[in-house]
């Protein structure tokens, strides 16, 4: 048995309990992961059963469809190709918006965090923009970006960008000032401080932002498709909804959740690699 210190992920799990307790529970690398997967599957199965029962047996059921009908609908979509086409459109919008929002929001967060005076000046304005319900700006999006994929990408990017910005910006406030000073004393200019200290330090905050932003990228893409489109999962959901087709609505939502779960697991895996040093004290 190896020690927790070589297993950042497990060690992180142990954080608030005693090291030994959690090591015992975790049970070892491979077995722990398998157990986690199995329990998750059990939870999922439980949810599905409850959903099926509610959907079948209660009057409320017709508002939430049920897993079998949803599965059948997803199957239909898969056969007709609608599923792949919709996923392709929405996923590409999501990823492009996510990337754009992350880059812009992250850079803005770091830069305003570094030139803190500017940050303090602009913070309220950024916040004011952030607090606009973006749907109210639908006409402006359309006017600027047309009705293609672009307005949806921009909407997703905006939603993501603000979240990333606030996380990273807040993170800059918690950087140890002495650490920065000492690195500057070693000869680092502002850019070097950002590259060598701020960015690595902020990765914990960035990952929080990424995790929070990812679903919003999807939401942005979908809401964008609600506003204007002829394709994509959002379009399919909206369309089903306007026909009171609950099976279709929930089939769309399930596909969306699946996508976000997959993306999220990828993100978590990346986080475990990058953040092994976090939470060990500076």
């Amino acid at each position: 048995m190896t020690s927790t210190s070589e297993m950042p992920a497990e060690a992180a799990e142990a954080r608030l309990s005693s090291p030994q307790e959690s090591r015992r529970r975790a049970g070892g690398d491979g077995r722990g992961a398998l157990a986690t997967a199995l329990i998750r599957l059990a939870i999922l199965a439980g949810i599905l059963v409850v959903w099926q029962v509610v959907g079948d047996l209660t009057t409320f059921g017709r508002w939430v469809s049920d897993p079998l009908s949803v599965a059948a609908r997803v199957g239909d979509w898969a056969r007709s190709g609608l599923l792949w086409e919709g996923t392709r459109v929405t996923l590409s919008t999501t990823l492009l918006g996510f990337a754009l929002g992350t880059v812009v929001g992250g850079l803005a967060g770091v830069l305003l965090g570094v030139t803190r005076r500017l940050g303090a000046l602009l913070e309220p304005f950024i916040l004011a923009l952030y607090s606009i319900p973006k749907i109210a700006l639908a006409p402006l999006f359309l006017l600027w970006f047309g009705i293609g994929q672009l307005p949806k990408i921009m909407l997703a990017a905006m939603l993501v960008g603000f979240l990333i910005f606030f996380n990273v910006y807040q993170g800059t406030k918690t950087i140890d000032g002495q650490l920065i000073a000492i690195v500057r004393l070693m000869g680092a200019g502002r850019v070097a401080v950002i590259r060598k200290v701020a960015l690595p330090y902020l990765s914990a905050w960035l990952f929080a932002g990424l995790k929070m932003g990812l679903p919003y990228a999807l939401i942005g893409a979908v809401v964008g498709e609600f506003m204007a489109s002829t394709a994509g999962l959002g379009y399919m959901v909206k369309n089903a909804s306007s026909m009171f087709d609950t099976d279709g609505v929930f089939a769309g939502l399930i596909v969306l959740m699946t996508i976000s779960t997959v993306l999220f697991l990828l993100l978590t895996a990346a986080e475990k690699r990058v953040l092994h040093w976090a939470g060990r004290g500076i």
Partner: protein
């Protein structure tokens, strides 16, 4: 240069490299230092001793520009220190390692900042790891290092780029005796080779202070000021292990000991 030459108790000092004149420092309304005057010459090795909380780290912070005097002037090479003073290398009391970098990469950091070539960096990092006894820990992250190892990384990181002026805040307090002797010798060697010209070295260990210094400065009092400046007139080059047998050693020890307000003599001064 406009700085007047001073000669108090220095054998090698040629001019005032660092000067503090009438410096006081208040944090809020707490005055921790008042009317402090101190000159440190080019090429001088000064040890600073004094009670915990007496203002030693604050002194180094002011010289490095990390902190600012409330009143009075801190000047470096005849110019008032304003903003960070890049000419000094500062080994802080707290080891401020970058937790996401291995020991080797922490040591590499200042070299990267100076744009060294890859091979030069690798070479230098190897040297420093060997010097600090960390060869086997090169690829460990700070959280995998023992307290003394972390401290050594933080020392090595500054020594790696050979800044001409060194500020050292209790650098060897958490090292074992052997390593400490080794580091003393290494430091004196670097200093005598003139790779490091001046050193301001804070310590609580009077033996260490007498062993290394040209002059020992006692900072004491509430608020702190220079209480005693004691030139150590023991020939250079010194063999670290011999200093304690030097005839003047006991006297130096005793004078420092009483300047620090201690009433009884202790073993080190026997």
């Amino acid at each position: 240069m406009a700085t007047p030459e001073t000669t108090i108790g220095s054998t090698r000092r040629t001019e005032g490299l660092i000067r503090l004149a009438g410096v006081s420092k208040a944090f809020g309304d707490r005055l921790v230092m008042a009317g402090l005057d101190l000159t440190i010459g080019e090429g001088e090795f000064v040890c600073v001793v004094g009670p915990s909380g007496g203002g030693k780290s604050t002194l180094l912070n002011m010289i490095s520009g990390l902190d600012e005097a409330t009143t009075g002037v801190v000047s470096f090479r005849g110019r008032a220190v304003s903003g960070l003073n890049n000419e000094v290398g500062y080994i802080t009391q707290r080891d401020l390692l970058l937790p996401w970098r291995t020991a080797a990469n922490n040591i590499r950091l200042p070299l990267e900042l100076r744009g060294w070539s890859r091979t030069a960096m690798a070479e230098r990092v190897r040297e420093i790891l060997a010097m600090t006894g960390l060869d086997h820990a090169a690829d460990s992250y700070p959280y995998e290092l023992s307290g003394g190892m972390r401290k050594r990384v933080s020392i090595g990181r500054v020594l790696a780029y050979s800044p001409s002026v060194l500020l050292m805040d209790e650098p060897f307090a958490s090292l074992d005796a052997q390593l400490r002797l080794q580091m003393h010798e290494e430091l004196l060697r670097m200093w005598q080779d003139s790779r490091v010209t001046s050193v301001v070295f804070v310590t609580h260990d009077l033996v260490e202070a007498i062993t290394l210094a040209d002059r020992v400065v006692v900072i004491a009092g509430q608020p702190g000021r220079v209480d005693l400046e004691l030139p150590i007139e023991i020939d250079r080059p010194r063999r670290v292990v011999d200093v304690q047998s030097h005839p003047r050693y006991a006297d130096y020890f005793q004078r420092l000991w009483s300047a620090l307000g201690h009433d009884q003599p202790t073993g080190g001064a026997q």
